[in-house]
């Protein structure tokens, strides 16, 4: 099984700013890996180091046994990268954008033309094939760049926030495109859309202030948090006794109770008896994310006492 291995990867910018702090992990280099984390967490830094664009301060990393620092040349034959802040070059058309990128990858001009046309068709951008990039909308420009790395056919793809700024339909289209790659490609993706990570990723990593806080399949990281279940009740303002768990009143008027499997079981029995309408789900990535990197605004740890709302 091909693997991505990081050991004690550390990046200090300039003299002080520690953006990555001894990050160590290993994951299969196959399928989709989503890296999430708050703004400034170090996602781009990690992505750029693995994509051979940035030197780490210390530590090591390898993909399929190829060292990203010392053997970057070999790795570059296999990877295609969409940097977070990439913009389609203003004076090129989408078609020229893809063609020239493929040429940098060593593909001949006529072959590159064919691949570009097919990538434009697949991303539903063929209508704009010959429009100057500077005349495209922000989301269209982003889509062109995603199409560009997809056209590369590289077995390993790094995409740093590929769907930021896209409408829901375009985003779903790109999700489909990424899903198609799952079987025989490795996609390393960062995102602020937790739904995107949840839907696409085989594995998720949560980075916080330069440290890797959680890593694994969704089920695996769910086990890392205290409460695995989420119960939602609309507008239930009177006291609900929760032995073990966390209650949050959301702005949407729903009361959310995060709790353990056992307590969820007990609560749902009680709600059914009391004819209280509720929904129960395993905690979402969003809940996990919150509980790992930040406490939500209004919350109370259940302590068995009667509580007023």
């Amino acid at each position: 099984m091909p693997e991505l291995i990081c050991s004690n990867l550390t990046k200090t910018y300039g003299k002080g700013m520690k953006a990555l702090d001894k990050v160590s992990f290993s994951i299969p280099a196959l399928g989709i890996f989503a890296l999430i984390g708050r703004t400034g967490a170090g996602k781009t830094t990690l992505t750029r180091i693995l994509a051979t664009e940035l030197m780490p301060t210390s530590g090591a990393a390898s993909i399929n046994g190829i060292d990203v620092v010392n053997n970057a040349g070999r790795l570059r034959d296999m990877i295609a990268v969409l940097p977070q802040e990439s913009r389609a070059v203003a004076w090129l058309t989408p078609r020229q954008t893809i063609i020239t990128y493929l040429m940098y990858r060593g593909v001949g001009f006529s072959e590159a033309k064919k691949k570009a046309d097919s990538a434009l068709r697949k991303t539903d951008m063929d209508r704009f094939a010959n429009t100057l990039n500077e005349k495209l909308s922000g989301g269209q420009k982003r889509k062109i760049l995603v199409a560009t790395v997809l056209a590369s056919g590289a077995p390993i793809i790094f995409v740093d926030e590929p769907t930021t700024g896209l409408d829901p339909i375009s985003r779903a289209e790109l999700w489909e495109a990424f899903k198609m790659l799952k079987k025989d490609h490795f996609v390393f993706l960062t995102t602020h859309y937790l739904e995107e990570a949840e839907r696409l990723a085989d594995r998720v990593g949560i980075l916080h202030e330069g440290k890797l806080m959680a890593l694994g399949t969704l089920d695996e990281i769910r086990k890392l948090v205290k409460y695995q279940y989420s119960i939602r009740i609309l507008g239930k303002k009177d006291g609900i006794k929760v032995k073990e768990g966390k209650k949050t009143l959301g702005e949407d008027g729903y009361l959310q109770i995060m709790t353990t499997e056992k307590e969820a079981d007990a609560l749902s029995r009680r709600f059914i008896k009391g004819k209280i309408r509720f929904s129960i789900n395993p905690v979402s990535l969003e809940d996990i994310f919150y509980s790992i990197v930040k406490k939500p605004i209004r919350e109370e740890e259940g302590n068995g006492k009667q509580e007023e709302w």
Binding site: T52, E53, G73, L92, M103, Y104, G106, V107
Partner: protein, 247 residues
């Protein structure tokens, strides 16, 4: 050269020359005018006596200017479009990227070079040997300025910084050195300032070989040695200190 390396070189030429010209033809006109404008000034100010010097100076400026504008182009592509990041992580090496970009810059200079060569044909009288020597100096100067431009573009983080680099370099490489007139027009001790600039040595060689400067006023062998040494030093610094891969 492998087929894929040719593709990689062509990619830079397409992005930075062919497609750019299609998009912004005004760039061509601007490149054409910049060396010619000074020729006009020098020629009229000297009542025509420095026409030959001005034309050869124009050629030098055109080749030095290539590196300066390359610096801005590359910094723009790198900082505003993140093209460098996409290329760094591709199979294209820094050297191949730079070679392609150097040719793209030369393509932009073609109209001004042709104009200058036409002027040189009529107003500069050179032996075959002198012409070859001038050609060699221009190639070396171009290599120097391209490598310098590439190096600076990789360390520049914004276009404002690039403009500052251009401002400093154009003074160092085209204003201080006696490009459009012989060095003995500069009184001592000011002449020593001119010797800070590598272009001064290039201009010395060109002016002696074209007969604008008496050989006694300049030491050709020393000029060549300094010029080549500066090229080597710069090349070593650029290879060691460039930020092709970010740190």
């Amino acid at each position: 050269m492998g087929k894929s390396v040719l593709s990689q070189i062509n990619a830079s030429i397409l992005i930075n020359a062919i497609y750019a010209m299609q998009g912004y033809p005004a760039m061509l006109i601007s490149n054409l005018l910049s060396p010619i404008s000074i020729i006009i000034i020098v020629t009229f100010a000297s009542h025509g006596s420095l026409l030959g010097e001005a034309v050869s100076g124009g050629l030098i400026t055109a080749f030095v200017g290539g590196g300066l504008s390359l610096q801005a182009d590359l910094a723009h592509l790198k900082n505003d479009f993140k093209l460098q990041d996409m290329v760094v992580s591709s199979p294209t090496s820094a050297g191949v990227y730079l070679f392609g970009m150097a040719i793209s810059e030369l393509i932009f200079q073609i109209p001004s070079i042709i104009t200058l060569l036409a002027l040189a044909f009529f107003f500069v009288h050179a032996t075959l040997f002198a012409a070859a020597e001038v050609f060699a100096v221009l190639v070396l100067l171009y290599a120097f300025s391209i490598v310098l431009g590439f190096f600076l573009s990789t360390v520049s983080s914004d276009i404002l910084q690039s403009w500052a680099f251009i401002g400093i370099l154009s003074i160092l490489l085209t204003t201080i050195p006696p490009v459009y007139y012989p060095i003995n027009y500069i009184p001592m001790p000011w002449r020593y300032i001119a010797y800070i600039s590598p272009t001064t040595y290039a201009a010395g060689i060109v002016q002696v070989s074209l007969g604008y400067l008496p050989p006694s006023q300049s030491n050709i062998a020393l000029d060549w040695a300094v010029l080549i040494a500066l090229c080597i030093i710069l090349f070593v610094i650029a290879v060691k200190k460039n930020r092709w891969r970010d740190v």
